[in-house]
């Protein structure tokens, strides 16, 4: 019998995947506009279709997470509580050791972490800022250049590009770690790809403080 801790329920996983698929489609279709040569390479029909798809998915990208937060306001609270919780010594130490650890995971033992690691909290804040920026600038770009001066439209366009750049930088690392490509994170993929459970051992390795609290309370423990 292996002891597991429930980490993400079906609702959270569905929300994650909706947001992820939406983000990937938006990224790929947006890339055709971001790099003019690429747009010209695929031709008018593909590019025009891509812009329509981009707008449809942009609506989903905004509406679905917003709905999920309305349906479950506790999730919204939980997300932002985790994002802005006070950093303790372990959090700071984690950040200090992050790069040495990534290059030599067999050597470093990372300090215990809360439900969201400090590194992920840091990248999540940047990610949320970029997402907020890309949504806002996207809406204003959609409204168009006929409202307001042209330089304003240009600011939205540059802002949209900049936020895309930020997300594009963070996304590969998220896949590399969250997708379990990095071997020490191998079984972590299960929390989103699988049933949302994590073994006690993995939970202790990745989120020590959170795992200890869960084991002590016993509420979310599953044995199978």
């Amino acid at each position: 019998m292996t002891k597991y801790i429930k980490r993400h329920d079906g609702f959270a996983r569905a929300n994650h995947w909706t947001f992820s698929v939406g983000g990937v489609v938006l990224g790929l279709t947006g890339l055709l506009l971001f790099i003019p040569g690429l747009g010209q390479l695929v031709g008018y029909n593909t590019l025009k279709t891509a812009t329509i798809i981009h707008r449809i998915f942009a609506v989903c990208f905004i509406v679905i997470p917003a709905l999920s937060w309305i349906i479950r306001p506790a999730n919204f609270k939980h997300t932002f509580h985790n994002l802005f919780m006070k950093w303790d010594d372990d959090d700071k130490e984690f950040m200090k050791l992050f790069f040495p650890y990534m290059l030599n995971p067999k050597k470093y033992h990372m300090p215990k972490q809360q439900f969201v690691k400090s590194g992920q909290r840091f990248s999540d804040i940047l990610m949320y800022l970029c997402i907020f920026g890309i949504i806002l600038s996207g809406i204003l770009l959609w409204i168009g250049s006929n409202i307001g001066p042209h330089w304003l439209f240009e600011i939205w366009r540059a802002g949209h590009d900049l936020c895309f750049l930020g997300i594009a930088m963070m996304f590969p690392i998220h896949i590399f770690l969250g997708g379990g490509i990095f071997e020490p994170y191998h079984r972590v993929a299960r929390v989103m790809f699988g049933d949302g459970l994590v073994t006690e051992s993995d939970a202790l390795y990745h989120w020590g403080h959170w795992a200890e609290e869960e084991i002590a309370s016993g509420e979310n423990i599953v044995e199978k």
Binding site: Y44, N146, W151, P172, F176, E183, G208
Partner: protein
């Protein structure tokens, strides 16, 4: 004029212009651009200017500006707002579909069939020329009447000018003519300049401006905006950044290969508050974890055996 014509330009001598707006009307007629048939929200302002600005349906706009010249004398400046057909056209560099392109003649043209209406060119143009037309979701602007010049005719605006303020021909010949004209009017118009020789790499609309560019709302030194430049440089930076991130991830993946930790290696005793790695307490203060705990585990087993 034949189809092999190269580097042509429109010549506009504002000192000869009476602002009759014949060119504005001819442009609309030839290009079948409808009138707005409304005041477009413009209140009476005792100006002869109408419509208030260029738009997706008004590709050439004649502006009127009343003011004083550098001698303090009254001046009435007429200006032509239309595509300048830049050599280094910002609109061309930002167009994602390739709709906005340069022709061998030097004209900058938006191919409406492949314009996706992203409006990036609208924002990039330092002259505020391309305009988004909502009725067909396309951005439109002057195209130098390419259909006419390819068939040996002059652009519609030029062909209708009654005062000779507009002309069309070889760009270098028109520059020489504009320079001569400025020399001629300089005694009475001290602010007179030729506009379009070097701006944006050289414009394909050469203008004689008796009161200088500022009087007709043209930028003294037009340039691609910093934001457009930033976006341009952001693209290679994004590529380099993504490669750097991918490179780091690849290196990390290589360094992480062979890492082993079983699904039940770590456990926690809530009563003592101690985390164990294969039964050995984990010392989080020690930086060496995996190798260290393996050694510690072996050492513990050794001690256990000794104890027995």
């Amino acid at each position: 004029m034949t189809t092999d014509v190269k580097d042509v330009a429109i010549y506009y001598d504002a000192s000869k212009c009476t602002a009759c707006k014949g060119c504005q009307v001819a442009c609309k007629q030839w290009n079948q651009l409808p009138s707005a048939l409304s005041t477009e929200g413009v209140k009476f302002n005792d100006s002869f200017e109408y419509p208030p600005n260029n738009s997706g349906d008004t590709w050439l706009h004649i502006g009127f500006d009343e003011g004083e010249d550098s001698n303090g004398d009254f001046r009435w400046a007429f200006g032509r707002t239309s595509c300048q057909h830049c050599t280094d056209a910002a609109c061309v560099s930002v167009c994602p579909s390739g709709a906005c392109h340069k022709t061998p003649q030097g004209a900058v043209v938006i191919d409406k069939e492949i314009c996706i209406g992203c409006q990036y060119c609208v924002a990039a143009c330092p002259f505020g020329v391309p305009k988004f037309r909502e009725r067909d979701n396309k951005t439109r602007k002057c195209w130098m009447c390419l259909d006419r010049i390819e068939n040996g005719k002059r652009p519609a605006c030029v062909s209708t000018c009654p005062t000779g303020a507009l002309d069309f021909g070889d760009r270098y010949e028109l520059i020489a003519r504009a320079k001569a004209r400025v020399e001629e009017i300089k005694p009475n118009k001290p602010d007179a300049v030729v506009y379009g020789i070097k701006e944006m790499g050289g414009l394909h609309v050469i203008q004689v401006l008796p009161f200088g560019p500022g009087a007709v709302g043209l930028p003294e030194n037009p340039k691609v905006s910093n934001l457009t430049l930033a976006s341009k440089y952001m693209k290679p930076f994004a590529g380099i950044g993504a490669l750097a991130v991918a490179g780091f991830a690849a290196l990390s993946w290589i360094r992480g290969r062979g890492y082993e930790r079983g699904p039940e290696d770590l456990s926690y005793d809530p009563k003592t508050g101690i985390t164990y790695d294969k039964g050995v307490p984990v010392d989080y203060d020690k930086p060496l974890a995996k190798d260290d705990t393996v050694d510690a585990s072996a050492e513990a087993s050794e001690q256990e055996r000794g104890g027995e």
